[in-house]
Symmetry: C2
Subunit: 271 residues, 2 copies
Amino acid sequence: MKVDFWFSENQNEDVKFGVRVKSHLFSKESKYQKIDIFDTEFFGRVMILDGCFMITEKDEFMYQEMLSHPAMVSHHDPKDILIIGGGDGGVAREVLRYPVRAVDLVEIDEEVISAAKTYLPSIAASFADSRLKVYNMDAFEFVDSERSYDVILVDSTDPIGFAASLFSDVFYMKSKKILKKGGIIATQSGSPFMNPEFIKKAYRGLNSHFMTVKPYLSFVPSYPSGMWSYIMASDGSIEKRRDFTGRYVNEGIYLSCFNLPEFVKKVLESQ
Amino acid sequence: MKVDFWFSENQNEDVKFGVRVKSHLFSKESKYQKIDIFDTEFFGRVMILDGCFMITEKDEFMYQEMLSHPAMVSHHDPKDILIIGGGDGGVAREVLRYPVRAVDLVEIDEEVISAAKTYLPSIAASFADSRLKVYNMDAFEFVDSERSYDVILVDSTDPIGFAASLFSDVFYMKSKKILKKGGIIATQSGSPFMNPEFIKKAYRGLNSHFMTVKPYLSFVPSYPSGMWSYIMASDGSIEKRRDFTGRYVNEGIYLSCFNLPEFVKKVLESQ
């Protein structure tokens, strides 16, 4: 018998999304946030940070693939990769499917990595790959480094609290400095339906530092509104150079994800 | 001050979606279903049938436009249109933007139309158009008619209860008979993520009666998973012949909506 045991995310003040829970596997207040892992009936295991869905076993592939592969198939030769956030290991898993040389993952909260390793082992399996190096520090500081990268993937929480600096003008300027020639940065930019200010701010910021800026969308059912946005930016061109077919991405998706509904175009054009 | 007053849809046994309510404007048990109208904080006014979101003022344009325009821009000269269901008037509103000759709307439940006229007047404004004729009867019977159509749009509730016949093999056969040469039928087919059996069944049924069958997707935040599917079918070709830009649809959307994520392709290919 299923019991009446639910976790709900308040997607905003007036909308909530609830899932039936089988068991509450883990709960910890880290230095940065509250981390919870639930086993749920429909979405499998889910990781919740400060009350918001980060990962569900059932639909994580949609987000991880769409943050990673459009940049990876567009770069002429992606060898050195920087992942900002991504402590669950999912974006690293996608990136490591390519013949990359090195992946640096900068996750401020080591407790997220530790929880993922214990409770989401298939997603966190990437941490065993010798090409991956983890830095537990603030990415805003890390990007002052002397290193340089072909692709930077910003898999952070939303721009509130400690992650706000990762969507600032200064962060985009610093990121540009550590991108090699032809390098591409891709960032998640929230739901244009629930939170249009977020994508507008990221789009404006990237536009003021990069020649080519391409916003795109995917479905992610467990995220607010199910409509999620990302932005790629580069000082070179961004064109598909190879194919990679996953559980979400394929040739058609690479071609079509940049075609935005009219109201999303209007959000981006508005001041 | 906002009060703790919520309506939640049980999207399935294990997932629910809740919206904060300002007031409960209308509630009636019709001959066919329970009809509720709420005024909500985030989505504006919403119409709920048997506990499920049918229409919200905030995102209805996404569904109405995506059910209507792909067929309307693909037909060589859409003059005579049949709408099955659509008692809120939204699909009729989209179709009447074209120089059509006549629109027949077959809504089994006249109480839905009456509630829409009273509480969703901007959506139901199409009922005042002299080209529109309403039939309150079972569409499954209606399609035995002697009339014939250029475009048939199936805007029904999901295939349970009294609407199940509208996704049956016999219904598709009957529809084909009343389509003129080059005619196009488009139907909603649910969420491939939450309810893959629904789109599979509709796809299989349409494939066994029509030469050209094209499934496509759009975002609809208030529907389960936010990922909604539709299928167009015809014995002729289905290619874009004109443009219409709305709040959701535009040239890019017409080109890209047929590019399905890999897992949706797999759902359709599976037996």
